[in-house]
Symmetry: C2
Subunit: 305 residues, 2 copies
């Protein structure tokens, strides 16, 4: 038996699952966490995580490794949390090492969007490719990059801020949460899509409700989703012009509207690429969806347990 414990930590909750060697998910556990709590110290964070994970591991002495996707910046596979937008007070925390010490098993931690990319490449829609650009569509727009089979984090762990690529520069460019404007996140995130739908129709709906309306041929819903796809295609094209990656996977709630989203993405992607790259890029919908990060966490746990 070569099972691992894999977890996906978000701003408000932890999901953890035992993953078998065959990639089956067993017994999912959830717990609340408030990473936004400004009083959360380094010690308190580690204690909180150690308590949760040891509660699971105590019952499973055969599990020798834990993999975690975490919303923060990590350099390479060091497991050192450089910084996290959720945890502005914490810097350079040896998170993997300290948790490993507490839990007495190997612990590997990586950025959450990069974990999703690793999951998609190991078990999902990017299986078999050595180079992959993965795009996550959630409350924000994120990216994860695998180059020649190695997860890419950049010099400071902040690579693939794909959500902040500019797709509009004019005065009407939408304002982004980063303080800038014209970022693709301001057009294609779940937050942006809900806000745009409310602007146009006056109704406050979530992405799922909006794409259900689109499936029922509601014009405003269709337009907003196609527009999101248009801008996503532009951002993906800019990435490919730099990286020359042939395979892109996309996960997140909005992919529920794939039949509308995909043609819109492909049209603007193809229009934006330089001639030798046109028509050469494959864009796939994630097959792991919400579990891409969990599968990626399992993969990093497995590599070096």
């Amino acid at each position: 038996m070569n099972h691992v414990l894999a977890a996906d930590i978000g701003g408000t909750n932890i999901r953890a699952t035992v993953v078998t060697e065959q990639g089956e998910l067993q017994q999912q556990l959830r717990s609340q966490i408030d990473l936004g709590d400004r009083k959360l110290t380094e010690d308190a964070l580690i204690e909180r995580l150690a308590t949760f994970f040891s509660g699971i591991l105590n019952d499973k002495p055969d599990i020798k490794a834990v993999g975690i996707g975490f919303p923060g910046f990590f350099i390479g596979d060091t497991g050192v949390l450089v910084a996290s937008p959720n945890l502005p007070n914490l810097h350079h925390v040896a998170l993997a090492e300290k948790l490993s010490h507490e839990l007495n098993v190997a612990v590997h931690i990586q950025n959450d969007a990069l974990c999703a990319a690793i999951g998609e490449q190991t078990y999902g829609a990017g299986k078999g490719v050595r180079n992959l650009l993965h795009v996550t569509l959630g409350t924000g727009v994120g990216g994860g990059l695998i180059l020649d089979d190695v997860p890419y984090t950049g010099e400071g762990g902040m690579a693939m801020e794909l959500g902040h690529l500019r797709v509009a520069y004019d005065n009407a460019a939408r304002v982004c949460g980063c303080g800038g404007s014209g970022c693709v996140e301001a057009y294609a995130s779940a937050t942006a899509i809900s806000a745009r739908y409310a602007e146009v129709t006056g109704a406050q709906l979530d992405t799922r409700q909006i794409y259900e309306r689109a499936h029922h041929n509601q014009r405003d819903a269709i337009n907003i989703i196609e527009s999101a796809g248009h801008y996503l295609g532009i951002a993906i094209a800019q990435s490919i012009k730099l990286l020359d990656i042939k395979t892109v996977t996309i996960s997140g709630g909005l992919t529920g509207a794939w039949l509308l989203l995909y043609p819109a993405i492909m049209t603007s992607l193809d229009a934006e690429l330089i001639p030798p790259l046109k028509g050469k890029i494959k864009v796939h919908r994630s097959i792991l969806d919400d579990n891409a990060g969990i599968f990626g966490a399992a993969a990093i746990a497995r590599v070096k347990q």
Copy 2:
């Protein structure tokens, strides 16, 4: 003695130099070549290059390796020319291997802009860094990328088409040679700057003449160079948001106007970056200038002779 022969091949000429182990350039030789000749076959290209290089090597039996920067796409360090915009009829030519066979010495070939990046990292303004983004400002705008000490070519050898990153999306966006519009090359290449200057003033000048006018406080010249810097800063920012690289070097004729160009680049770069990256990026003027490619060719020749 550990000298190598290093060459930079352009669309119309070859420059070759013996480079000593200490990085001194000895005895520069030039020869004309017409890569744009549609009748140039694979055999004719190799014969043309072999004749030129053997003429030099015959006098220098101690030289055991040749490095070449070439305007084309290469995957990794294979020396296989995948394609070249200059040579549309040639595909997948084992250029390094065939030249090595003809010349009876080791031959290493890499993309010209990437060679300039390697040169800058080995001997120039990027010396000592493991990650470098190099921007070349010539008739086009090009890019070369070193990641963790390894030159990055992308899956198909077409990485770092930085000149075709979009910096304008509106209807007034300038048309680019690639067929698209709004590419940074349409704002910051020597061609674009001369064309813009002619539009505004009616005078046909080259980049050097334009920046000399700027140094003499001619307002139109200053505006056009600052505008080029503004757009370059935007394109560099998009690259850094994806790659998280801390060091950028820039070479090419326009860097003669560095005192105008640099502040314009830094202002838009800083405005475009996400908060944790603002103020963290170093942008240096090349110290090798036209010879960056030659030094890079020497470096690749030296690595594996």
